[in-house]
Symmetry: C2
Subunit: 422 residues, 2 copies
Amino acid sequence: MDSQRVAATYWVETPYPLEQAAEIIAGEQSTGTFTKVPGESDALKREHGAVVEGIERLEDHDAPSLPGTVAPPGHDGRYHRGRVVISFPLHNFGPSIPNLMSAIAGNLYELQQISGLRLLDLQLPEAFAQRYAGPKFGIEGTRRLLQVYDRPLLGTIVKPSIGLSTEELAVMVEKLARAGLDFIKDDELNANPPYAPLDQKVAAVTAAIERAADATGKKLMYAFNITGDWDELRRNHDLVVGAGGNCVMVSILSVGLPGLAHLNGYSEVPIHGHRNQWGMMTRSPHLGMSFTAYQKLCRLAGADHLHVNGLDGKFYESNESVTASIKACTEPLFGGYKAMPVVSSGQWAGTAHATYNAAKTADVMHLAGGGMLAHPDGAAAGFESMKLAWEAAVNGVTLEQCANRHPVVRRAMDKFGKAGRL
Amino acid sequence: MDSQRVAATYWVETPYPLEQAAEIIAGEQSTGTFTKVPGESDALKREHGAVVEGIERLEDHDAPSLPGTVAPPGHDGRYHRGRVVISFPLHNFGPSIPNLMSAIAGNLYELQQISGLRLLDLQLPEAFAQRYAGPKFGIEGTRRLLQVYDRPLLGTIVKPSIGLSTEELAVMVEKLARAGLDFIKDDELNANPPYAPLDQKVAAVTAAIERAADATGKKLMYAFNITGDWDELRRNHDLVVGAGGNCVMVSILSVGLPGLAHLNGYSEVPIHGHRNQWGMMTRSPHLGMSFTAYQKLCRLAGADHLHVNGLDGKFYESNESVTASIKACTEPLFGGYKAMPVVSSGQWAGTAHATYNAAKTADVMHLAGGGMLAHPDGAAAGFESMKLAWEAAVNGVTLEQCANRHPVVRRAMDKFGKAGRL
């Protein structure tokens, strides 16, 4: 691929011949409109037009997957599916994530000539790396801050998600920090609520963490959810850092990729990237975007940690898809830009094996909310059970063998292992 | 509804009884997780829990619309559909659009207990109006700037979308301004491309507009696409205003709602809100969001003009849906916050009647790209044809009658009217 072009791979479904649909997509997203206009010269098209680089035919389908499709006259009832690669000249938009999105997504999803469209992958020219610095901490930086190298970073999410007073939260955090946990994050539902304002939360929680650190010699990483309007991001970040906090979290789809990139411009601690709302853009297999494409943009914009759901989790996503996301986050982009995958949702000690066996790496952050906090013997036991399960998984010891040796794992299995796929 | 609660209406499809699915949604998005955790007391649930306010049953379906759904044991194969209203206490997140999104959308779309979910509507408490100022210009302010009151604002989109040099663009704009057009916008594909940087574009285009205004006495409104990263928004806005420009445009999904709200904090000219990428979030009837909900957030965040597609347009959207969007933008929110609906995509003189008959208002901006610029007699004739068609539509004169009287309309019909639904 030309180093001055962006290549986008789409899954396409269309009642038109695939070649024709691909040309319509390329035209709509570059020089064309529904009728030829003055000025759309051949030279202009050569210089600025999007180009169909390749088409891989897949099996036809007998009905449109999305509504509003208009088939050509004499249509035979077949909806053609394929993978289509289209390239765009970088000089049409420059290395700008917001303007890239208008080009590669734009109005495409609304075309009546297509009955399905999904952005599968993206190849970006080096110029994006010059513009966007990417994660400042990533996997290595986060491990360095925590001084934990030989296993996944293990932690929890504050639960109940909302409603704890600042004081209750501080008590809980101190207890968990004293139990040795690596990491705690605010729930995505809980940022700066009127009943427990962020400044009070930051003061109480950082003090609790320091007290525990004085006692144990280890400082827990706490991701304060600083999601908010643009001005608040800066104010909230400075509040956290000023109080000695060591991580901030944002809901990426709430603040937008430019919001994330801006935060990354001044952030002094790792950015924990939460992807709530993402399901809206990805759960239909016939629409939206794959995480393979989206995570590249999140990493460019500076996410140090990136949520990927969990194996055997409580959400709809298949284990294959979660595994692909874990691998995607750690695949080099411009030779670096690695983000730490955050495995989360319906997790507990018993999902360590599935995670390790699928991803073949311990370079993940493994978070369990209920699976840690609701362990029958308390949260410290929840943490211990996850640590032991990971050790077993990495050393080829089964969960059952591990539970035979360690009652704390058995007790987790008894509680969380019965409900099937939690 | 309690003035301190947000109410969200969802279309839900689920293999569970609707009541149970509604409770799962309410729990996931407030105090619950997959297992009961310490601290989730009854008092906390009362104070912070989301509440199922109503369920309207719709017809069952015999298959899941989205993948990854897990049915309960003994499931009878029926997927229940309904409209479900859930309310959230405002004090869980405060009047913050980004944090509202994490609450009302969040991880909901990923739940394996649901096989379809769509946010249909939103009711927001007054506190949001205190936090977000909304459109500064809206319909009235835009009309006042243009001194056009008795018909829709008529304009075009720069085509070819990309590739014109700054000089070519200035020549084109001056010609169109001299022809009397009210409005021109940059294409959403064209913001600040390296081959025609925004500063040069702004200088050349504003000078062209001033020259035409000196000749005609009327100053055209030009929406410069200032979409970009955070810092660029401010710089670009100031560039436009400093040069005497009178409108800025942003791709709302590119900059995010907080980006729009931030721009609205300092903007001195109307904000033209483009919704490209929106198809991704709305084209599946079983996922995402309806524009009825989204446009409220866009208006709160400050969009003065809001794209709604066009009647008989080139996109998938039905005329009913476009009509609903036009009406939604002009329905009072907190007693005001009206945005001017921008009817666009595959438009020409012949779509004026459909637009007026459906929306029963001339309070729209009606934009035609090809349908204006590619008129057989040139763009001035394109503008004339649209003005005449609207006059006819408002006065109950048919397009055919109008064309009989005005050759410029007939010539538009001959070119654009044959291709069916353009």
